[in-house]
Amino acid sequence: MNRTAFDPHDVRGDFPILSRRIHGTPLVYLDSAATSQKPKRVLDTLATFYETSNANVHRAIHHLGEEATAAYEGAREILCRFIGAGDPTCCIFVKNTTEGLNLVANSWGRSHLQPGDEIVLTEMEHHSNIVPWQLVAQERGAKIRYVPITSDGLLDMEAFAGLLTNRTRIVGVAHASNVLGTINPVAEIARIAHDAGAIVVADGAQSVPHMPVDVTTLDVDFMAFSSHKMCGPTGAGMLYGRKELLEEMPPFLGGGDMIERVSKEGTTFAKLPYKFEAGTPDIAEVVAMGAAAEYLSDLGLDVIHTYETELVDYALEQISTLEGVRIFGPREGRASLVSFSFEKIHPHDLSEFLNQDSIAVRAGHHCTHILHDVLGVPATTRASFAFYNTFEEIDLLVRSCRKAIDFFS
């Protein structure tokens, strides 16, 4: 195999946790799709903010308040560039992907959906891009349709086109599936959806951390993603929205920071993006999310994606040699994770076994009940990779799986 020049050993030292040992054995962390590990630069940014610049944002007329506000708004600009949004006022800080998607469902959904309108989602959506829509659909009397997947885990694009009607208002799609690893053709989906008069809400939780993502080129109306999956801290995330839509949308949460003027008669709301940022945000986390985006940009998202593709190709090749294994998702062109199962070993038992060798994977349904129903398995085991993982770690995973097969059969 002709491998890229990227060497994960050059960056592993940036991640203090990767030198941990568990039961005396070096940690093999293969659960980055659940949450990534954090480099020192991000951790230092968090600590430095609290040690030197801590103050509330957008409120204080004192030096620290100005510094904190500058750092917070600086992070918005970094992230705006990071996803090619063009205009920082279209970049709203939220807690995580889930909150971003709930914001769209509650604000745009509740103010636009009429009884009989239709929402098109895919069978591979994470619960966070299903449940908010089910809630609003029930309230507004709208219907939800699901785009089926093909046997190799791709979206059935023909079926998708067939599902669109003149009642379709919203198309919700994961840019990358957290179980199948499928990278969905979001630009094409947006073109087809727009032709049908629908808006597109993309879930970028598993794509933004791993590959170059440009919301302008993709031409999506909304995209949400989480800091904690892209080497940043928990508690921060972003919702990108198309300006025309954000401007006419009602607020999601009400309170401080999101108002222009409050009187007994009523309230006028602040301009974008503040209309959607009620209350004191996770300031330090947002600032550190900016540091995470810079860290990833310095490595290069294209370099990261190329290396992670090599990793996942190697993992697919090695895992497929295991006796009785079933691998889910496409063989190529996928995000850096592999979900698999064995007829005779439950994922929970397998991950318990791997844990004895200090290998961290995820077992379960990964917040995708609908997808697991479609796949016909109650649960899967998922190994997910980041650029700090090595080929040797995949060898360790496969070796430990082999021992587990002997143990349980």
Binding site: P347, H348, D349, A363, P378, F408
Partner: protein, 151 residues
């Protein structure tokens, strides 16, 4: 591997590979569903009671080795017991797997074969797997309408 052998005793592996009393019970007069959302364990329990006695009991579903073995062992242990004794055993079992000394004290011997599951107390996330069948049994007997969830 010593720790894992504690958890996955030979009896457990045997019951998970060849679960006893597996399948639907046609003349059941109690039935309940149980779910462990964390790992996707799912079980349906069928019980036939007469005059306060568990005459027959079986289960269906899919789950990890621990939950399958625990359900299998439970059906063996409960068949022929009075409902009252069964509920007493539930308490003891619960005490054993959670390591609660108050409830556990009542003599480990009375647990018989069930004692092979004592190892789960060292694996806190697996306690739910081991107790799912028992909670589902309780629900079946008490005619709960809602499916049981260990969450």
């Amino acid at each position: 591997m010593s720790d894992l052998r504690e958890l996955y005793q030979e009896v457990i592996l045997d019951h998970s590979r060849n679960p006893r009393n597996f399948g639907r019970l046609e003349n059941a007069n109690h039935e309940a569903d149980g779910n462990n959302p964390l790992c996707g364990d799912q079980i349906t329990l069928f019980v036939r009671t007469e005059d306060g006695m568990v005459i027959d009991i079986s289960f269906e579903g899919s789950g990890c080795a621990i939950s399958t073995a625990s359900a299998s062992l439970m059906t063996e242990a409960l068949k022929g017991k009075s409902i009252e004794d069964a509920q007493e055993l539930f308490e003891q079992f619960h005490g054993m797997v959670t390591g609660d000394p108050m409830r556990e004290s009542q003599s480990a011997q009375s647990m018989g074969k069930l004692s092979v599951l004592a190892g789960v107390r060292e694996f806190p996330v697996r306690v739910k797997c081991a107790s799912l069948a028992w909670h589902t049994f309780k629900a079946a007997i008490e005619e709960a309408v809602e499916p049981v969830s260990t969450e």
